[in-house]
Amino acid sequence: VKRLLAAIAVLAATAPATAQDRTDAAREDGSVVGSDYAVDPIFVPSPETFTFELRVGSYQPEFGPAFEATIAGDLGPFLGAELDVHIVRIPYVGPIAIGVGFAWGEWTGPARADTTTPTTANVGSTGLSLVDLSALAVLRVDVLARQLDVPLVLSGKIGLDVGYSQAGSGGMTRLEGWSLGLRWAAQVALELDFLEPRAARRLDDEWGINHSEIFFELFGSTMGQWAGDQMPVGTSLAWTAGLGITF
């Protein structure tokens, strides 16, 4: 067997370019096992096309001073998800993507009785709920992770925010409407591949998931703040954190 392998090796060394290519391929996929040419397969990552994020955070619409007093610091939680589609990659920078996001939040506080005879009775609750849809342009700067082995990805996002909100008290919805605005976000993500590189590669091999990450994002929205006939449910600054995967 050794002689046979030696012969194969000699033949491979002297063979034309096509045979050399085949040998290289065998080295890459690790099929030449037990010989001097046995090597670890060369990892070829799958293409990166999407980024999906699940998030939770705090958000407080700028709905007026009375709102802030009523909800007494209720920050949501604000739950959401986002899917980014990578359109083009800028060399040594990272991909540009477009994304769609969905989020939901609800804020409640005690309602009051508007009566001439004061009552101490519980009259129920009052609240505001928001369903937020966003369409975003995203720049993901992953050069640090890809070229310098620093597992950080920085992202900037800007786009359109569309919100449907309802406000009510005492069990009745009193206000509802759509709001439009500009959404911006800045995100820093820590890629988790460095914790277990082999597992990360296996995840890509078996599931096509290139990277997983945890992230923190600051964002703001001007929903309803530019038009007097829309419910002002935007906020100047809020945050979310969560888990993302690139696949």
Binding site: A66, A113, T119, A121, S125, G170, R174
Partner: protein, 344 residues
């Protein structure tokens, strides 16, 4: 091997015996829902008979199916015998007086059995021999016998069927109301049930719109008196649940104007439909409830109606287009990405 064959033969025989036995289904009656299970115990489906139903001699329909065809060939009847739980009354000695009181008591007999399915209607009071105070569980055995007065026949298991019926004559204690409540279209009344109370059928909320003064105090002599019997001349709202402890009333439906009061008291009803006495009544008030939307509109110098009209009408058309645009953008992006991935 012998043990195995015995086990197999038991498995084969047992179901056939069971399938040959008559089966009894109690049909819905009064306010009961199907299927009616008149047993006691803690199971949620069990609904004992109440003293009130017994005293009213509520007619209960027993549908008997799967009667052996052989029983229809002669002048057999169904004789119903009452006994304690677990006593089948199939042995003649259980039904025949032999110097003492036998464990089984005759209740009633049916007309002659002519078909393999028949219906017997028996009054609740009749089932208990006119004694509606027995707070206990009984087994009623339906035996196929040659005549109503028969006490000598040893009845085969295939010619007998039984149902368990519990007579529950003890109402639960009254609940304790949590205090005054207020609201507009949602006035939430809450109460505490007595400790260790059995699973309930429902709670009744009684409302007397003339039962409170302008300061929210219950008027003495109101139709609702704590510890008293539920009144008949006031509004009653039933709320079902095995552990119901709150109810939401609509001030508008009650006929209350803004700032008006009404007296409220609660009873709880066990699964036998025994109703407790009234809780101590409290006053509830219909009020205008305000909160986030009203405050927001006030800050904008608008009434709630103006505010609602403004937000409802203006933003929707534009938002609809934006939403479509977002979907369109996403679709284009997805297509581009998939095509790009496909080329690789």
């Amino acid at each position: 091997m012998r043990a195995f064959l015995t086990a197999v033969s038991v498995c084969l025989v047992a179901p056939s015996l069971a399938s040959a036995q008559p089966r009894i289904l109690i049909q819905a009656f009064g306010g009961r829902s199907l299927p009616v299970n008149l047993e006691g115990g803690m199971a949620s489906g069990s609904q004992p008979l109440s003293e009130a139903e017994c005293l009213a001699n509520q007619q209960i329909q027993f549908e008997i199916t799967n009667i052996p065809a052989t029983a229809t060939m002669t002048t057999n009847v169904f004789a119903v015998w009452r006994a304690s739980r677990g006593t089948a009354c199939t042995m003649a000695s259980q039904r025949m007086p032999m110097g003492g009181t036998p464990p089984c008591t005759f209740v009633v007999a049916s007309p002659a059995i002519t078909m393999t399915t028949m219906t017997m209607t028996i009054g609740a009071s009749e089932l208990f021999g006119g004694d509606c105070t027995m707070d206990d569980e009984f087994q009623f055995n339906f035996l196929i016998v040659p005549s109503a007065s028969d006490t000598a026949t040893e009845v085969a298991a295939t010619n007998a069927a039984s149902v368990i019926i519990k007579l529950d004559v003890t109402p639960p204690d009254a609940p304790t109301l949590g205090g005054p409540a207020a609201g507009d279209t949602m006035i939430e009344v809450v109460w505490d049930n007595p400790d260790g109370v059995e699973p309930l059928h429902s709670a009744n909320v009684y409302v007397d719109t003339a039962g409170c003064d302008a300061s929210g105090n219950v008027i003495p002599g109101s139709a609702l008196t704590g510890g008293g019997a539920p009144p008949s001349g006031v509004m009653r709202y039933a709320f079902e649940g095995t552990a119901v402890e709150s109810a939401t009333l609509n001030g508008e439906t009650l006929g209350l104007m803004e700032d008006e009061w009404a007296a409220v008291a609660v009873t709880i009803v066990d699964r036998a439909r025994n109703e407790s006495v009234l809780s101590t009544p409290v006053c509830i008030q219909r009020v205008n409830v305000v909160g986030i939307p009203e405050d927001h509109c006030m800050e904008r110098g608008l009434s709630i109606e103006e505010c609602a009209a403004l937000y409802r009408c203006a933003a929707a058309p534009g938002a609809g287009r934006s939403w479509l645009a977002a979907i369109g953008l996403a679709a284009i992006g997805l297509t581009l990405a998939l095509r790009r991935r496909g080329r690789r």
